[in-house]
């Protein structure tokens, strides 16, 4: 599978878990990694370039921290500009149809916060609905998200495990070892039970 990782993080500090994940992704051979904030520090997104990138790949990975139940603003700008009528949707063009979309996010809140009884009132999947519907409207297959909750300190064993399995996940997808259609039926992608395909 041709994998495109679109990474959006406006405050990349050294200790950022997302930065460590990005580094892990960069080390995976054979995929395309794009740091959107690096490429478009002035928010002037090159629409043609971005559309071409989408066409050249089968799996589009969006990696970002959840900000106010949504994406960082540049990734929203990216959606507004790149997913054009006639390219991503509409009767004349639906060029992304059949591709997979994978959301890889970190949240500050714990998993229990994202529930009817928690402080955020709703499960995380509900907050991801706009993204899911965007993908669906474009005819893309929306994979269950790859999530790290309570991502506040890079030193915790959970964070370290998550960073490592992010690399493993991308490597598996790139090497065609992951049964993505099988993964579509799941609630979330956990490193432990990744649906790895049998060796051919």
């Amino acid at each position: 599978m041709r994998v495109l990782v679109l990474f959006a993080h406006p405050a990349q500090r050294k200790s950022s878990i997302n930065r460590a994940m990005a580094d892990a992704a960069r080390r995976v051979g054979g995929l395309t990694f794009v740091d959107l904030y690096e490429e478009y520090p002035r928010f002037q997104i090159n629409i043609d370039r971005e559309q071409e990138r989408l066409l050249d790949h089968d799996v589009i990975v969006f990696q970002f921290p959840i900000y106010w139940y949504s994406t960082p603003s540049l990734l929203k700008e990216w959606q507004d500009l790149v997913l054009e009528y006639g390219f991503a949707y509409g009767p004349q063009g639906k060029l992304l149809a059949g591709k997979f979309a994978l959301i890889c996010v970190t949240t500050g809140g714990r998993e229990s916060d994202y529930s009817a009884t928690g402080g955020n009132n709703y499960p995380l999947r509900q907050f991801l609905l706009p993204l899911q519907q965007t993908a669906t409207l474009c005819g893309m297959k929306f994979l269950p998200p790859f999530v790290l909750h309570a991502a506040n300190h890079i030193g915790t064993p959970e964070a370290q495990r998550h960073i490592a399995s992010y690399g493993a996940l991308l490597r598996a997808i790139t090497a065609n070892q992951l049964d993505l259609d099988e993964a579509l039926t799941r609630d979330s992608i956990f490193p432990a039970d990744l649906p790895i395909m049998a060796e051919h």
Partner: protein
């Protein structure tokens, strides 16, 4: 006159060829000069009358070297290195001195001779080691910094050593009165002490208070050769003053260098003195080479060999445990120990002084010079050995990451209205650029604001070199002069292929010339601010500010794309007006923008309006919605 011409011809020719060959062999210029001396020595009968004059002349090389070393000493750096400087450097010098001294006495030399041998061996070759470390990019590594600290301490230790030689001599022999009685010697003790102190205070005070106004006045004359003459005058005058009061001229020059180290004229002074220092030091090494008696080498080659090996073994034997004591990691410790294992140019100075004062015999000096030279010749071999050891240690799993150089530096050339803003932004973000400008008053004003700025013509390659061009990560060429700017870019690109060059362009044509010269990023000096004015105008006309912003961005993109498309058409030789490709292309660039001006704005508007189209459900979704309604 004929004699002088012949001398000059023989010396210069031998120097040029021997140094070229020696550098090619990776042996450094010092070995080359000595070899040249060995070659021309017998031809010119150096022991004859002409050479004494030459020797005195060449000793100015040492004075200038100490002047330049003094200038390199930045009090802050000395403070930062204080632990290594005093601990590592001090222990190294003292332990080597003691070891060689004891060893020498056991071999039957007098204690004075042994002590002086100890001094000679304790001092490594600053010139060779620093040059090699810099070439290998190891100067900023742990081992490199430790080596630098020790070399710095050795440079300082030379001064008391030089002062001690007469004392050693007065114990062994009757005072050598070859230099004649000075006026000074006729004074009573208290008066001479006072006079000596007065001379030192005068040098310090004059360096601090007098030098700036004088140099500024000279700089404003704009006559380069007068500035050079003034720089030489400073060194010669100090040497003369110090000799008159019976102090070492080298010590005085060193002090003056330290005082002038913080002056804005530092780089300019360095550049003016450097070539003279180089040539005169070369001359000094050549006179040393010329005095080597080759028959001694043939006669005592075994002694020379054993002395060299013994010297290096003692040095490594002292350096390596010290490195471990000061917790240098394995690779750094080996770099430190092997890099500093030779004796250096100061050894020659001490030896020749020792000979003058009759502490050493001619034979001892010749053998010692040969041993030191052999040690210098072997130094590149030791660096190769170091590389081997590193790969060996690496394969055993040691990491080298900490031994890599630290973050880089920025040079800002030209500090007018343009460069100042660049500089302020850099300072605000914690970078300390080296700033160069040719207007002494500008530099002076900036220094009052605490900005590290240096006086000098940024177009001069040597000034760029001494500002650290070879190791800098970025250079900002912000000067007004278009031709100079192109020259600087060309030189910077050649001298440091990996450097990032940000250049200020006057206009489009200058943009192409800079691009041709190898600039990475080129900023047209008025483009940004003119656009800002256009933005404000459009806003004033009632256009929504965000709409203006988008249009501005598209305008910039189009304009830059056009510029880039045109760059290959510009060959730099043919005048633009005679280049049909260029003219055709130029008309092509502005098409989109021109259309916009003529009111035919479709293309431009299309570009601006991309995106922000609301999602519309397509037929299939509309159908689904209809079905569910039914």
């Amino acid at each position: 006159m004929e004699g002088l011409t012949f001398y000059a011809l023989a010396y210069l020719a031998a120097a040029v060829f021997a140094v070229i060959i020696s550098r090619r062999l990776g042996l450094g210029s010092v070995v080359g000069y000595i070899a040249a001396g060995v070659i021309v020595g017998p031809i010119l009968h150096v022991s004859g009358a002409g050479s004494e004059y030459l020797e005195q002349f060449s000793e100015f090389g040492i004075v200038m070297m100490l002047f330049l070393i003094g200038m390199e000493i930045d009090p802050q750096m000395v403070w930062r290195l204080r632990g290594k400087l005093i601990g590592l450097g001090g222990l190294q010098v003292v332990l080597t001195l003691v070891a060689v001294g004891v060893f020498g006495t056991l071999l039957g030399f007098s204690w004075q001779q042994s002590a002086l041998f100890g001094c000679v061996v304790a001092l490594s070759s600053t010139a060779i080691v620093l040059q090699t470390l810099e070439e290998k990019g190891l100067l900023e590594s742990d081992g490199g910094r430790a080596s630098f600290a020790v070399l710095l301490f050795q440079d300082l230790a030379v001064i008391p050593m030089l002062a001690c030689i007469p004392m050693l001599a007065s114990v062994t022999t009757v005072t050598n009165s070859a230099h004649g009685e000075t006026f000074f010697a006729t004074l009573p003790g208290w008066a001479s002490a006072l006079l000596t102190l007065g001379a030192v205070v005068f040098v310090l005070a004059a360096g601090h208070y007098l030098s700036r106004p004088v140099f500024r006045a000279i700089a404003q004359l704009g006559l380069r050769e007068v500035f050079t003459a003034a720089a030489l005058l400073v060194v010669v005058a100090i040497a003369a003053l110090m000799s008159a009061v019976g102090l070492s001229p080298a010590l005085g020059a060193f002090l003056a260098g330290v005082v002038l180290a913080n002056s804005e004229f530092k780089h300019e002074l360095q550049n003016d003195i450097e070539p003279f220092k180089g040539l005169l030091l070369g001359l000094f090494f050549m006179t040393i080479g010329a005095k080597i008696d080759l028959s001694i080498l043939l006669q005592h080659w075994a002694i020379v060999l054993v002395a060299t090996l013994a010297m290096m073994l003692i040095k490594v034997g002292v350096l390596l445990p010290l490195a471990w004591l000061f917790r240098l990691r394995a690779t750094a410790a080996w770099l430190f120990a092997l890099g500093l294992a030779q004796a250096g140019e100061f050894g020659f100075v001490l030896l020749s002084l020792g000979r003058e004062r009759n502490i050493f015999s001619e034979e001892m000096v010749s053998i010692s010079i040969l041993a030191i030279t052999l040690g210098m010749v072997l130094t590149p071999g030791l660096f190769i050995l170091f590389d081997r050891i590193v790969t060996l240690l690496d394969s055993r799993g040691a990491t080298r990451a900490d031994d890599e150089p630290e973050e880089g530096t920025v040079i800002v050339a030209g500090l007018g209205r343009f460069g100042q803003i660049v500089n302020r932004m850099l300072l605000a973000n914690g970078h300390k650029p080296v700033v160069l400008d040719f207007r002494a008053d500008v530099v002076d004003d900036l220094r009052k604001f605490g900005i590290r700025s240096f006086f000098g013509d940024a177009g001069r390659p040597d000034l760029l070199d001494s500002a650290g061009l070879a190791k800098a990560n970025v250079i900002v060429v912000a000067i007004d002069d278009q031709d100079r700017a192109v020259e600087i870019v060309t030189y910077a690109r050649r001298a440091n292929p990996s450097i990032k060059i940000v250049a200020r362009a006057y206009d489009r044509l200058h943009y192409y010339r800079l691009s041709d010269a190898g600039a990475d990023y080129i900023v047209r000096e008025l483009f940004g601010s003119s656009l800002e004015a256009a933005v404000l105008t459009l806003r004033s006309l009632g256009m929504h500010p965000y709409e203006v912003e988008k249009r501005r961005n598209v305008f910039i993109e189009q304009d830059l794309a056009g510029l880039k498309r045109m760059a290959p058409l510009f060959d730099g030789v043919t005048p633009v007006s005679d280049n049909p490709d260029f003219i055709a292309g130029f008309n092509d660039i502005g098409k989109v923008i021109e259309n916009a001006m003529l009111g035919n704005r479709t293309a431009y508007n299309d570009l601006v309006r991309r995106g922000w189209t609301p999602p519309v459900l397509d037929d299939s979704h509309a159908l689904k919605a209809e079905q569910s309604r039914q």
